[in-house]
Symmetry: C2
Subunit: 299 residues, 2 copies
């Protein structure tokens, strides 16, 4: 497993602290019986996770000289959606997980009904964040961000991919089907991170191909690495249960390709992702490092 | 129980057909394994419900000469949020209901995980609808609608009220607390319906007081009527289980005031709501009829 470069390590630490700080502020406790809801949202959202999606937003915004505060708020919105999806995904009627980010899942620490509501609340919060003028001075940009995130999170994006995943337990998927499923389930939200930077950078639609290619390849590489971690990883490092996929008899990139070819495929995708950035100079180095990190991480 | 006027009856039938038609179009089945998700969303969203919220939007838009198609799309968005909240609210870990709008609840007809995802999908869909240019030609108006709906649906609105409702089973609420709870749980979304018309009608903030007063009073009157129906209603007409509140030992307007005073209070609120509309002429008649219907309905 490759060493994480110091620059990326610092960038991950910094964004972790910044996203925590923003969640702390936006989720300050109300002085009524909703406080339990906010406590639950804070429990799920603060102090955990790699913050990969916010980092992708910030790194891509670096290409277009977009202010860090604006990038961070968009990162906060996409992380809100990501956290809500984890909370609902962990529910007993879904994946039924007890451990997430190294601590009990939200419905274990609180209860199921609070977990449903906290997920729903983080979902709405994401759109509240994007629509607020603190995110971007141009309302048309904010509106495009909202439209893009709603699409990426909804039935034609992430939620649609989760449904495919549920349906997958009743059929046998081939490589094309698993690829399509993951492009929706995890790829749509990762795609949003790059698209958001293009929206804020006012990049014309016809010039977004490199960024879209990058996010598609990084998203799949990231997922293959996740599948490998489920087979090879340690619970102590990943902070969640491992070996779940094979127990459930779910087809993954690893079950279909084998470990060796899956790792080769992930490496190929990372090289391809970096290739998409060839027209950029040093300002894209963080995106290149994130691509390498997607497969080199141990958690 | 008062007779529903013919005009309102026709308006309810018409909007029911229109909202069904819009859901039919927007939820056309995809040709992959997400079709089960869309089936579930259609099951919950099409062919049921009073469509009170879309009707409120349309009626309020009538005050400002806003096109019916625009009003209907905003009504579709708020109904998507309403339906998602019912789907999640009916889950076993929440209210655990078997019957909704006269048929088995979504998790009974499908399964719990599909119900969670269908609710989440309708939630995202609402914002996708509002952000789309078909809803309004002015992006700034669309953005304000998004911001307002996100606030009304999230932890400082509907979801916050639902949390208060869950917390209420562990304490004894007084009238002020029940009022506050209901102003969030059902009032925030009803408030959005009127606010949306004000946004599209470009009504200055300082001139929105009558509409806000109307929605606050109608929202509470509607909730008191709901509490009365839970005590006095028939399952065949309400399409859902009755007598639930007292079984759960929940404080309601009826448990706190008694039936007689609760009905008087509802009637008073309706009169007050209509009073808020005094500066409007015949163009507000539909809003006046809706206010009366809020307490006269038997379902």
């Amino acid at each position: 497993m490759a060493e994480i470069p110091n620059g990326l390590k610092l960038a991950l630490e910094q964004i972790g602290a910044e996203i925590d700080g923003l969640f702390e502020t936006i989720l300050s406790l109300p002085a009524d019986s909703r406080s339990r809801l906010y406590d639950a949202m804070r429990y799920a959202a603060i102090g955990g996770g790699k913050r990969l999606r916010p980092l992708l937003v910030v790194a891509a915004c670096g290409l277009f000289h977009i202010g860090r505060q604006q990038a961070l708020r968009v990162g906060l919105a996409v992380e809100s959606i990501h956290v809500y999806s984890l909370v609902h995904d962990d529910l007993p009627c879904m994946d039924d997980d007890d451990l997430r980010r190294g601590k009990p899942t939200l419905h274990k620490a609180f209860d199921e009904s609070t977990a449903v509501l906290a997920g729903d609340s983080l979902h709405a919060l994401a759109f509240e964040i994007l629509a607020d003028e603190a995110t971007h001075e141009d309302p048309f940009v904010r509106l495009q961000l909202v439209a893009e995130l709603a699409r990426a999170a909804g039935p034609s994006g992430m939620a649609g991919g989760q449904m495919m995943d549920l349906a997958a337990s009743e059929s046998t998927l081939d490589l094309a089907a698993v690829t399509r499923l993951q492009q929706l389930k995890t790829g749509a939200l990762i795609g949003f991170c790059l698209e958001a930077a293009a929206i804020m950078g006012r990049v014309p639609l016809e010039s977004r191909t490199p960024l879209r290619g990058y996010s598609r390849d990084v998203g799949l590489a990231f997922q293959i690495a996740d599948d490998l971690l489920d087979v090879e990883g340690e619970e102590a490092k990943t902070g969640k249960k491992v070996g779940k996929d094979s127990v459930k008899g779910k087809e993954t990139f690893v079950s279909l390709l084998g470990r060796e070819r899956a790792r080769q495929q992930a490496d190929l995708l990372v090289a391809q992702a970096i290739e998409h950035l060839q027209s950029f100079g040093g300002e894209a180095d963080l995106l290149r490092e994130i691509a390498r990190f997607a497969v080199a991480r141990d958690h």
